[in-house]
Amino acid sequence: MDWREFRVAFPLLVSCRLLLALTPFVNSLGLDHNHQLSSPTNSYVRLQEGLFLFKHDIDPYAGGSFYHSPLYLSLFTTVLPTSRFVSRIVWTMLDVLGAWALVNIWRERQSVVRTSRDTLVAAAYLLNPYILLPNLALSTVSFENTLQLLVLLYACRRRPSPALLLAAILIHLSLYSALLLPSIALLLLSSPHSHLANPKFFTAYRHPNASLSTLLSYIGECVLYSVVLCLCCTVVAGGWGWVEKTWGVVLTLPDLTPNPGLWWYFFTEMFDHFRPFFLMVFSVHLLIYVAPVCLKFQHDPLFASFALLGVLGMFKPYLTLADPGLFLSMYSVFPEIFPYLSHPLPTTLLHLHASLLLPLFHSLWLNQGTGNANFFYASTLVLGMANGAALVDAIWAGLRIAIGGKESEDEGEIAVVQE
């Protein structure tokens, strides 16, 4: 039993993560208040505040401090306790579930039971600092990432009901994840196998019993689940105020706490009479990516979802480091594109730059006072460039692979079966 084998290595990775989460040293780092690791819509501190208000019979959505979905309220006041120790274990288990889902997505893509790269894929998720650190900071973006991966997994396994239900829950937690619904629908109607080297129209690769009526039934099912969840949320929150404070927050951006995203600085200096226009521009801008990506990668909807995750990881309103982290971890599921990446080294270096500059300029601005907000804004621009470089490279390689001709592919280094 080789230590690199998945059955041995995965529990090792899980125990490593658990140890890391439970060391007292992590408590002293004060990661909860770190602006790079959690933003107003997914900060643990604000979750605690909302739970406190809820338990004391004050409407948590009446003030401006709680932007989480009411599903979190019902989850944490009933099933999960809110003590920090248990929270760390729960969050680590969420990441473990996400890693397990990623490994199974990788396996589904090849239609095999196990491969030699499983450990690498799991480690790429569990040990990715962009995902590890927000998890230690107990940011609820871990819920969103895990749900996202589970949705993709059930879509790969062609089980529409769990996929659509989890997608409905995910949309309740983070509204912009609705951008992935078209690609998930395409994935449900076809297969997760890699057709990047052999692009054809969607009809060539779709599942035999896929048709317009199944698509309509999927849409109807998703809407039904959303309605049920809306009612549940209304029951918990005791009214309809939660809509404005959860979904409305990502559309109107009332809270301009600094985060690694690209929205907050723009809107700090926005004149009031231009605000609605630019909010509309920023939101519609995200919608622009859905149709082209889904059309271009209609032969490989899993890759289309991957590209859209990259778009979300760049342009979400309340970004944390875990959103680009998910995109970077999913790179490991598509090793067939690695020979065709045109600038992997600059992308890596840009990410290194960004991850070093972000905490440095944040501290220089807010702790020491010798810098100002522009420093931190510049480092968020570097992160945006790094994400952009990664996304553009992935899309380039995904298209370039169809032309082929790289040596390493012919030498059989790539383990992915191309159909």
């Binding site: 019979d57 006041t77 009612l231 009214g239």
Partner: protein, 408 residues
């Protein structure tokens, strides 16, 4: 088909549950949060605490200019330093100074202002924020600051943004006389103006309580005309008396501090943010022998007893804090802790006072988390409905997930 059937049944169940719950819960809901909020403020008021403010502001005015009025600048800066040390942030302090002594050509120690003979503590430093400097310190600006009637172009740092739960500390120093105070050698403010400004503040609910301290000649006359409630005032000398400076520094060459302010600041140096010393303790230290004039106190407009009014109610940035830690074995009692973390080094008597309060507070607050409403039945029913709501929605979502994930 089966899926459709089950989801429609659960939907109907949920709709009925929702309507039932909503009709029951909305009616009592609006009353409960206000009770809870009022309960939070009065819960730990008890026999010990009587304050009900939520934020602190300070307006510190030095109304003189020129080198020979060095001591008035040092008075105001000493108060500024004390008030900041005790926790009021710069955003809540309006400092009005002529600010012409630190970089005066006659200052042998440039960019410094000292307040004692050995020049041991520089009050000017690197980190002071003067809001109104030089010729901006006028009677009109002072009254505009107090009443809030300003042009909309005035920046926030120059505004007194108080509300009806703010305690305001107003300190004035300079040259004064019987019912007037001289502003920068060309105008004066009278006691009637100050009284009317405070009344405007009361009418517009711009303060919870005001502590007015004035250190000038014939200072007590300046607060004699105040007629608004909740104002405590103290001055350095009676009508017909002068207020004297305390000491000169031989190298600076002028008087560096006034007696009344010197003794008040000396008293404050023994205090930190957790202090339980009261206004009565401060006023008990006043004496003619020390201060060389008769300090006065006006408390007839002040609602609370002076021996239960803390110094930090006005000079400190102290707030009610309730500590909640689910892991703690005993519930932490709430006591007046400030916005920042641990105090530096509490003296023994303060520590004893805090401990006694912790012990007494323990009995009051242990285990009491539900809001006290008119009837116990009402609150327990409301709590039950809330728990039902949370569990109901969690059960529906969890059941839906479990059923769908495990089916087929």
């Amino acid at each position: 088909m089966r899926l459709l059937f089950w989801t429609t049944t659960s939907l109907l169940l949920l709709i009925s549950f929702f309507t039932f719950v909503s009709t029951g819960s909305f009616a009592t809901e609006t009353a409960i949060p206000q009770d809870a909020a009022r309960d939070f403020f009065t819960r730990h008021a008890g026999p010990e605490k009587t304050s009900n403010h939520t934020n602190n502001w300070a307006v510190l005015v030095c109304s003189s200019r020129y080198w020979f009025n060095y001591r008035h600048m040092a008075n105001a800066l000493g108060m500024y330093r004390t008030v900041k040390r005790l926790g009021i942030p710069d955003s809540n302090i309006i400092l009005m100074l002529a600010d012409d002594v630190a970089c005066n050509a006659r200052n042998k120690f440039p960019a410094t202002v000292f307040s004692n003979q050995g020049r041991s503590l520089d009050l000017y430093g690197e980190n002071i924020e003067v809001d109104y400097r030089g010729y901006e310190v006028t009677v009109e600006n002072f009254i505009r600051v107090l009443t809030g009637r300003m042009d909309s172009s005035v920046p926030r740092s120059k505004r007194l943004l108080t509300d009806d739960r703010s305690n305001v500390f107003v300190y004035m120093t300079g040259h004064g006389g019987n019912e007037f105070l001289k502003f920068q050698d060309n105008e004066e403010i009278s006691a009637f103006d100050i009284a009317d400004a405070f009344e405007q503040m009361w009418q517009k609910k711009r303060y919870n309580e005001i502590f007015f301290m004035i250190d000038t000649c014939q200072a007590n006359s300046m607060f004699s005309k105040i007629y608004s409630p909740n104002i405590l005032a103290t001055g350095s000398s009676e009508v017909g008396e002068n207020s004297y400076s305390y000491e000169n520094d031989n190298d600076v060459g002028v008087a560096v501090i006034d007696t009344f302010t010197h003794y008040v600041l000396q008293f404050m140096e023994g205090i930190n943010k957790t202090s339980q010393l009261t206004m009565q303790d401060l006023f008990n230290t006043f004496s003619f022998d020390k201060i060389k004039s008769t300090p006065g106190v006006r408390s007839d407009l002040f609602g609370r007893p002076l021996d239960r009014t803390l110094i930090t109610d006005f000079l400190g940035g102290v707030a009610q804090v309730e500590l909640v830690d689910e892991d703690a074995s005993a519930e932490e009692p709430s006591f007046s802790a400030d916005n920042f973390s641990e105090p530096e080094s509490p003296s023994d008597e303060i520590l004893l006072a805090v401990e006694a309060e912790l012990r007494s507070g323990n009995n009051i607050s242990r285990g009491d988390r539900t809001p006290t409403t008119a009837t116990n039945v009402d609150s327990s029913w409301y709590g039950l409905v809330k728990v039902l709501r949370a569990w109901g929605s969690a059960a529906v979502v969890g059941g839906l997930i479990g059923w769908i994930v495990t089916s087929r």
